[in-house]
């Protein structure tokens, strides 16, 4: 099944990091998750741009957290969730990757 929009590598990582928290993830949660897994540090600017781009493609949505967190100095917090379309895109990408991987286990060890 062809996906109408292409899912980039970083976009895929970001979506997976958002999914890591069942109740939705803040941008900082996503950054922490990616920093822990990836061998390099994620650029903050790139992360925000990707979040907004992926949201534009309809794969992410966000809501504002209730209540005031003192550490944020009164600024709001966005909580991101992956939309059903996003899940579908991820599943499609996964299927493509698995297909590509199959039969290569011996070569790659």
């Amino acid at each position: 099944m062809p996906t109408p929009l292409v899912l980039g590598e970083f976009e895929q990582l970001v979506l997976l990091a958002v999914l890591a928290n069942a109740g939705g993830s803040s941008a900082l949660d996503v950054k922490k998750r990616l920093d822990a897994v990836l061998p390099r540090r994620v650029s903050r600017g790139a992360l925000y741009r990707t979040l907004d781009r992926v949201e534009g493609k309809g794969w992410l949505s966000w809501t504002l957290d209730d209540g005031d967190v003192p550490e944020r100095g009164g600024y709001p917090r966005r909580r991101f969730r992956v939309t059903p379309a996003g899940i579908e895109a991820l599943a499609g990408a996964r299927a493509v990757l698995l297909e590509m991987w199959s039969g290569l286990d011996e070569v790659l060890g």
């Binding site: 941008a27 900082l28 903050r44």
Partner: protein
């Protein structure tokens, strides 16, 4: 709570998408910042992240804007880009010159930007509704409180005021509701103050009339910061009962963030005006004008009040009555505001001087290139493009200078904020925000216009024929006028005057240190507590001794002592009249003053100084043994020249009868000690006497605790606090901190002043060097043909150099002379800051002259070398 650097946050906010998306990004950054370890590193991290993010969000927008502008104006983008590259290459070829130019302009931008920020901060209004309708009523002058009785008639019928109330300051010891006991600065408000200020509570309510009724249960309102820091922002604190100064009080509300009326208050309680001594307590009044009323009505009312007080027999000295003035002028008088704005203008002259310097140097650079320019013109190059290249050069330098200036200003404002925070009112915040950034950008444009225009316009005057014929050496269209030369002389004189004053100030600091004696302040923690007036003298002495013994036994403590003053902290040991037995005094006023301090045995051990003659005080003195005292070496030398130990002295019971003001009997001097930081600076020689701490019934002594070598004294605080609270659970420690820090804080005003002069003097020096360098570069360039001919004809090299530099040397000497005279004339105005130094100290004047001549020689080195390297053959051939 501390905030991340605001200027970085506002810069980022300007670039981020508007609305909740942008604000959430700011919040993320703020949250991560607050999770890091406090300190400079954390702020630097924030600035770096904010800049990176701003770049990330701003760059695409800028690129789009640039493309659109280029399309619209049909600018020759490729040509501009190549000009830009050429400019960078040219500037990069002489990095020292570029650094000088950047630094000069950086200083030129930083000085007015800093001043602008400081003035904007000082003249900022209170963050309250309609601050211009707030009126202050009190005594004129510095201390504006008056007895409450004077102002009471205002409360009933106040013409022209919609609301009015009285207030005063108080230290409040707060404990309970899960918070450890601590002391906060507070204010007492009568009914009407909150109404006049026009501010409500964020949680709960403010004080209401019922709280001020006689016999009403005590109510307290907390500041947002106190609520967050000590009560964890817990809503249930509202309604809870705390103990305030030993009395139960109910928290009725929490004020919104940023409210600390009147200077730095963290709690507010009712001011009761019905008690016995209520009418004598010192208060001020604040009112809010009715919408259609003017200040005149209130002023007339204040005048009438004074009249009626005088006629009622009250002693109101002339000029000491009541004045009503806009609240904003209460803090910073109108004249100061005008003067501050004038200062911004004045400091902007620094920028003008810097611009003139840079313009001189750029003209010299253009002169060196005039042959090149002539060739380009001869080959058909456009004059407009040459002008544009000059302008671009100036713009790049101005941009670099502006960026440096902004960074310098940010550092200066930060230092100013930190050193003045303790004594400026809470609403005076100093931040480099967008208006300041805009001001900097404006300064950069002005600088670019001034510095770029001169060489650019002059380049149009290049005479192609002459320039080609003389090979670019010799007379050309470029000029530096007489004005330019005298400007350099003026700069030198300014730098010299500022440096002389800075030098005198250093001298004064050194002299003051000398009278302070030898003691070791490192590793010392100090803290204070206050015992209630109900305790009698004996119980105070027992408590003090108990505290001392339990603190001295704590692990990590090398020694501990009690003292009525903090060594090295100015004016903490008051001066009183001390009589020496056997000396005849005609009048009580003839008894000379000396500092008087009450210390416990072991004080001198703890301060690491030795008793130089006789013995230390002991607990037995004044109890089992006769009363004893110690005198310091200065006192012994000046008042007891023959024999100090064994003499008898008496502290006269004069002045107020405050805490520790014991009426003295005769005490025998049992020992002599070195001076231990008693002097208040200036003409005060620091002579003083020490009495046993038990004698003065010291209700509020300072604990002085020396930590074991190498340990951080602050780490002792929890155990010291616990030791005091074991004796009295309600006794908070306050004024806590390392002694070293206390000493620095007590001298902040002096050091701000000294640093200011040194900074301005340094800036003046840099500008003068750049000016001399630019002037000499130009002169040598202008006269290179003549110098070459002289060299070719066999003139000695030193004469050629002297010929080239003579003019500038004259201006330098004239500048130094004028500057020294200026400084000597200005010293009487600065007498207060220069106490202890001879205003005509030749050593200072000579060293400043030497520094300036040295700087002049340095600035002349490169041009002199150029004068000697003039190519003989070329200069002769061009004849």
């Amino acid at each position: 709570m501390k905030e991340p650097p605001r200027w970085a946050a506002s810069l980022l906010e300007g670039v981020l998408p508007s609305g909740v998306v942008g604000r959430s990004v700011l919040g993320d950054l703020r949250e991560e910042w607050s999770g890091r370890r406090p300190g400079l590193g954390r702020d630097a991290w924030y600035v770096a992240q904010a800049m990176l993010l701003a770049l990330h969000y701003g760059a695409p927008r800028l690129a789009r804007l640039g493309k659109r502008a280029a399309c619209l104006s049909a600018l020759p983008v490729a040509e501009l880009a190549s000009d830009f590259r050429l400019t960078l290459l040219r500037l990069g070829r002489s990095p020292v010159q570029l650094a000088l130019l950047t630094f000069a302009l950086g200083l030129g931008v930083a000085a007015p930007a800093t001043m602008f920020t400081i003035v904007a901060g000082i003249t900022r209004d209170l963050d309250l509704p309609d601050p211009d309708r707030l009126v202050h009523i009190g005594a004129p002058g510095r201390d504006q409180t008056v007895p409450a009785g004077w102002l009471l008639p205002l409360l009933g019928a106040a013409d022209g005021l919609a609301a009015v109330g009285l207030f005063s300051s108080a230290d409040l010891d707060i404990s309970g509701a899960g918070a450890p006991p601590h002391r906060v600065r507070g204010s007492l408000f009568s009914d009407g103050v909150f109404d006049a200020l026009g501010v409500g509570a964020a949680v709960g309510r403010v004080l209401v009339p019922a709280d001020h009724e006689p016999g009403a249960p005590p109510a307290a309102v907390l500041s947002w910061d106190l609520w967050r820091s000590h009560f964890g922002g817990d809503q249930s604190v509202v309604g809870a009962t705390l103990r305030v100064n030993g009395v139960p009080a109910t928290v009725v509300g929490v004020m919104p963030p940023g409210f600390h009326f009147r200077y730095a208050s963290d709690a507010w309680m009712p001011l009761h005006l019905d008690g016995e001594d209520a009418s004598s307590s010192e208060v001020e009044a604040v009112g809010r004008l009715e919408p259609d009323a003017t200040l005149d009505v209130v002023q007339a009312r204040a005048l009438a009040l004074v009249q009626s007080l005088r006629s009622a027999g009250e002693n109101v000295p002339p000029g000491q009555g009541l004045v009503a003035q806009p609240f904003r002028y209460r803090m910073i008088a109108r004249e100061v505001r005008v003067m501050a704005s004038a200062m911004v203008l004045l400091v902007s002259f620094v920028l003008l001087i810097a611009c003139a310097d840079v313009a001189n140097l750029l003209v010299a650079r253009a002169l060196a290139r005039s042959h090149d320019t002539a060739v380009r013109l001869a080959l058909g190059g456009g004059r407009w493009r040459i002008v544009r290249q000059h302008a671009l050069e100036a713009l790049v330098i101005a941009g670099l200078g502006g960026a440096l200036g902004f960074v310098l200003a940010a550092a200066a404002v930060d230092a100013f904020e930190r050193s003045t925070r303790s004594f400026l009112a809470y609403w005076m915040v100093f931040r480099l925000d967008l208006p300041v950034l805009g001001f900097c950008a404006f300064l950069v444009l002005v600088a670019a216009a001034i510095t770029g225009l001169l060489p650019a316009l002059q380049s149009r005057r290049v005479d192609v024929h002459t320039a080609l014929q003389t090979g670019g050496r010799g007379s050309s269209g470029y000029r530096i006028g007489r004005v330019g030369r005298w400007l350099v002389a003026g700069e030198v004189s300014l730098a010299s005057a500022l440096l002389v004053i800075a030098g005198l100030q250093l001298r004064s600091a050194v002299n003051n240190l000398r009278t302070e004696g030898r003691f070791e302040v490192a590793s010392i923690l100090t803290a204070a507590y206050e015992l209630p007036a109900e305790r009698d003298g004996g119980s105070v002495a027992d408590f003090n001794r108990g505290v001392l013994e339990s603190v001295a036994g704590l692990p990590g403590v090398e020694g501990a002592a009690l003292s009525s003053y903090l060594p090295g902290v100015r004016t903490s040991a008051p001066r009183r009249r001390v009589e020496v037995e056997g000396t005849g005094y005609a009048r009580p006023e003839d008894v000379p003053l000396a500092h008087v301090a009450y210390v416990s045995p072991g004080f001198f051990d703890t301060m690491r100084t030795d008793v130089t003659a006789g013995r230390d005080l002991s607990w037995r003195d004044g109890r089992e043994d006769p009363p004893a005292a110690l005198v310091n070496e200065t006192f012994a030398r000046t008042r007891l020249p023959i024999r100090a130990v064994g003499a008898r002295i008496r502290v006269a019971a004069v002045g107020s009868t405050g805490d520790g003001d014991a009426t003295g009997g005769w005490a025998t001097v049992v020992g002599v000690v070195p001076a231990v930081g008693m002097a208040a600076g200036g003409d005060d020689d620091g002579s003083g006497v020490y009495l046993p701490v038990a004698e003065g019934a010291q209700r509020s002594p300072a604990l002085i605790v020396r930590a074991l070598a190498g340990a951080d004294p602050s780490s002792l605080l929890p155990s010291v606090q616990a030791a005091v609270q074991r004796l009295d659970p309600e006794r908070p420690l306050f004024d806590v901190g390392p002694l070293e820090q206390k000493i620095q804080t007590s001298r902040v005003a002096e050091s701000v002043f000294a640093v200011l002069f040194i900074a301005f003097g340094g800036a003046g020096l840099v500008l003068a060097v750049v000016g001399v360098y630019g002037l000499l570069s130009f002169t040598v360039g202008q006269r290179s043909r003549e110098l070459g001919v002289r060299l070719a004809l066999g003139a000695p090299r030193w004469r050629v150099v002297w010929l080239a530099l003579r003019g500038a040397a004259l201006h330098l000497v004239a500048g130094i002379a004028a500057g020294s005279a200026l400084a000597a004339a200005a010293t009487p105005l600065l007498a207060e800051a220069l106490r202890g130094a001879d205003p005509l100290d030749p050593a200072v004047y000579v060293s400043v002259a030497v520094v300036l001549v040295g700087a002049g020689v340095l600035a002349a080195l490169a041009p002199a070398r150029r004068a000697l390297s003039v190519d003989l053959v070329t200069s002769l051939r061009s004849e």
